[in-house]
């Protein structure tokens, strides 16, 4: 659906609901997070009613392609291949990959040290794609359905290292005393995260981009960053 139809109805937005602090269900059962607030702020600017729902990662693309949602505001990284299938708006933040190991690990300090190791990454993240494409013949990859599973695997020693977006892990470490550490492996690729919408919906894309610019300009955006990521954090 393009913008006119959405105006007559509600703006259907999806996220995975299992990716704190971007989107998750708190213990009151409410869907909250950075992505949720961004979605609400954008909808307000666009002047549409919004309905934000969660859908598991493995079904979220199908849901978008199948027309159940109009947009995924779900921390989705932009890649070339994905652009063939969906349209992305301007980025709304950028995510960086990082490598994590158990606190007691001392034999991994660079990408090369990962050779022969078991390396985890989560399905759907760009870290997963990066690890699979670069790990060929070097390390063994294991894909997890979500960050909690993967962190579990790391702390129980099922994987020697994990590659993940840095923000969620850092936030998770604040809330839970996890015995893991980030290692500095030099520059890893960063990907911009953007809102994905169905292909060929020019008006919607336009409106989202305009709204995004507006919330960045009027400070709403930074408020949301302060609230969820950390005071003064810069993730643009």
């Amino acid at each position: 659906r393009d913008l006119p139809e959405i105006r007559d109805d509600v703006f259907q937005v999806a996220n995975s609901g299992a990716y704190p602090p971007f989107s998750y269900v708190n213990t009151q059962g409410e869907l909250v997070g950075f992505d949720v607030d961004i979605a609400e702020a954008l909808a307000k600017k666009m002047g549409v009613d919004v309905n934000i729902q969660s859908s598991p990662w493995n079904g979220i693309i199908a849901a978008l392609a199948g027309g159940r949602f109009d947009a995924c505001i779900c921390s989705m990284s932009v890649t070339e291949e994905r652009q063939k299938a969906v349209d992305f708006t301007d980025p709304y933040y950028s995510a960086g990959l990082s490598v994590w190991v158990q606190e007691s690990t001392d034999d991994i300090s660079s990408i090369d040290d990962l050779s022969g190791k078991q390396v985890g990454s989560t399905l759907g993240e760009t870290g997963n794609q990066w690890a699979v494409e670069n790990g060929e013949g070097k390390w063994r990859n294991q894909t997890f359905q979500g960050l909690p599973d993967m962190m579990n695997a790391l702390t129980t020693g099922r994987v020697d290292a994990m590659i993940a977006d840095d923000v969620p892990v850092l936030v998770a470490m604040q809330d839970n005393a996890l015995a893991i550490k980030m290692i500095d492996v030099g520059e890893l690729p960063r990907w911009p995260a953007a809102i994905s919408i169905q292909k060929n919906k020019p008006e919607l894309k336009e409106a989202l981009n305009a709204a995004l610019a507006e919330i960045k300009a009027d400070g709403t955006y930074q408020d949301i960053v302060d609230k969820w990521i950390g005071k003064g954090a810069n993730i643009e």
């Binding site: 609901g17 704190p20 859908s55 598991p56 079904g59 159940r68 839970n176």
Partner: protein, 218 residues
Amino acid sequence: MDFDLMVEVTPLLIRAAWVTIDISSRAIFFGFFVACGLVFLQTFRFAPIRWFARGYISVVRGTPYFVQLLLVFYGGPSLGLRLDPVTCGVVVGAFNIGAYMSEAIRGSIESVDKGQSEAARSLGFGKAHTMVSIVLPQAASLMIRSVGVLAIVLVKNSSLVSIISVVELTYQAQRLIGSTYKPLEIFTLSALMYIVIIYAVMGIIELAYRRATRYTTQ
């Protein structure tokens, strides 16, 4: 274990468990009728009807449940079939489990001694009547157990309905783990709820089985 957390999330999980119960019980109920229909179609003399039933069973059993869900949910609207996610879960669940149940019923019927239906037929009972009065009561013991297994399978597989964004027990648990990083506590809770649901199903199966086999143990 973080018991405070467990207490806190229990109401959420119970609500999700209710979705699971709702979807599964309706799917099992309608699925049984789908199964009976399929068994019935296979008794037709007109071959294309039989082929249709066999083909249906083959395709439905042969392809994954979550693919069926996605195809019906997203492909349906283009054929004018617009279902809300829960209804879609019930409908696809019923048509899916129905195919399995029909095979279970067929197998149970075939395990009854042929002499029994011959005896009934020789008294003048028609095919359908023979089935209802003579064959089914004797097939019941095997049927109840094998259809019961499938009911249990359906309850468990109802977690796949989350792929069309229904928040049922497993998905709710996963979402909560995603935010709390407490897998042990939350999985334990959801496991307990599954145990209660499925234990109830097993209880019904056992009762029905006892009733159906009264005559052999008397």
